[in-house]
């Protein structure tokens, strides 16, 4: 009944063309079709933010988007921040500040933090709280997460967090295969 739709999307710098059911959620497209497991499902009610990715450089909740809404757009996930085992400054700051325990919320927190730091390179602690309002953590009590984001702001020192990534990898189709 529902015809498949072709979507073309850039993910972590690489182009993909895939046929999808219109009802496929973006989170499932990224996890199941592109094997990007950092994008997590935590709540199914659009609250927890574990599915946070960047779409056209705005943070969005991938569980609350259809994959078809990403057609023609550019997605960045945590996998796109670090290359060749070198940690990007934001996840590195999380590690140093002990800003994760179970780690389930972490990829979403990092992507939300990247969105904040792109728009506000030197935030106050209260601004970090507001920026992470869409991301829930059950383990840490949030204080070390706030510390991590402020530390990351320090180490980036005004640099665009998306500029601190290895060059785009056009081997997308080979790396993730066809399904």
């Amino acid at each position: 009944m529902s015809g498949r739709v072709l979507i073309e999307v850039r993910v972590n710098g690489a182009p993909y063309a895939r046929e999808v059911e219109p009802r496929l959620l973006l989170v499932d497209f990224l996890r199941d079709r592109l094997a990007l497991k950092s994008v997590r499902i935590g709540c199914d009610t659009s609250n927890c933010g574990c599915c946070t990715v960047l779409m056209d450089q705005w943070s969005v909740k991938a569980c609350t988007l259809l994959a078809v809404q990403a057609h023609g757009r550019e997605i960045v996930t945590l996998e796109g921040l670090s290359r060749d085992r070198a940690l990007h400054p934001v996840p590195e700051a999380f590690a140093r500040a002990h800003a994760l325990q179970c780690g389930y919320c972490t990829s979403g927190m990092v992507m939300a933090a990247v969105d904040l730091l792109r728009n506000n390179p030197h935030p106050e602690r209260e601004e970090v709280r507001r920026a992470l309002a869409g991301n829930l953590c059950r383990c840490t009590g949030y204080a070390p997460i706030l510390d991590a984001v402020l530390a990351a702001a320090g180490s980036l020192d005004g640099a665009d967090p998306l500029d601190v990534i290895a060059p785009a990898d056009d081997r997308g189709e080979e790396e993730h295969g066809r399904d």
Binding site: V5, R23, T45, T64, L65
Partner: protein
Amino acid sequence: MYPARFDYIRAEHWEHALEVLAQHGVEARPLAGGQSLVPLLKLRLAQPRLVVDIGHLPRGAVVADGSGIRIPALTRHADAEREPVLGLATSLVEDAASHIGDPQIRHMGTVGGALAEADPSGDWSAALIALRAEVVCQSVRGARTIPLRAFFQGPYSTVLAPDELIAEVRIPPRPTAGRTGGAYLKVEWRAGSFAVAGVAVELVLDEERRCRDIGIGLAALGPRPAADEVVEALLRGRPLTDDAVADACALLGRRLEPYSDTRASAEYRRALGPVVFERTLRNAAQRALGGEVDARVW
């Protein structure tokens, strides 16, 4: 939970979307930012046969001219929050838009989508009702302009026909006489930031601190987003003394028809509504007099 199967059409332009809706009527749902529709699809509370995607269409610019301020329906909450044209005209829009959901939701959700959703706790609805805004609705049959105060019929229910789209919101021209100030405050449910009680006030004071005009919009305090025209009439023409404010709060509390839900009981809302109203009213007055306000509710 997962959406049921549906067909999908990506509108090539606005008129194309209107044609598709005219053809399919109640079996089609428009998709703008999806921050209301996608959760409904996942819960299967909405099971359209067809989804018409308008989210990628050109958003258009917010424009202020002699006829007031026009906000295109596809304006995202995050865009409205930062839009200088709106910030210059009123503090109400920034207050309301910046407290919707969370950043991720504000990056996708649109004002048209929010108004069409008609959530009783809607922040945009309360703010725009206080501003006496209108919506322009379009279909293949033409366009009509509806005052927002007559737009909501009940929870999640509006006067929109199945083939109609909200095209833009119009805020009337700002008053030229008197001193204008607006504020929106809400007590929010932490997950998702839905209002437990929200009040929007747009106030015009004269030099003796007398209320020349006032608009009051309520969020989560009744079955549909609504004004309180009786409390507005009570305050219009009166100096904003402590007694006048107390009278208005008491009247508002008696007039409320609050509901109980998972976030709060009706009794709690009846107690909370007047408190939020008083703080919002004082913030609006402070802004009208040129002062700064602490925009947190406590």
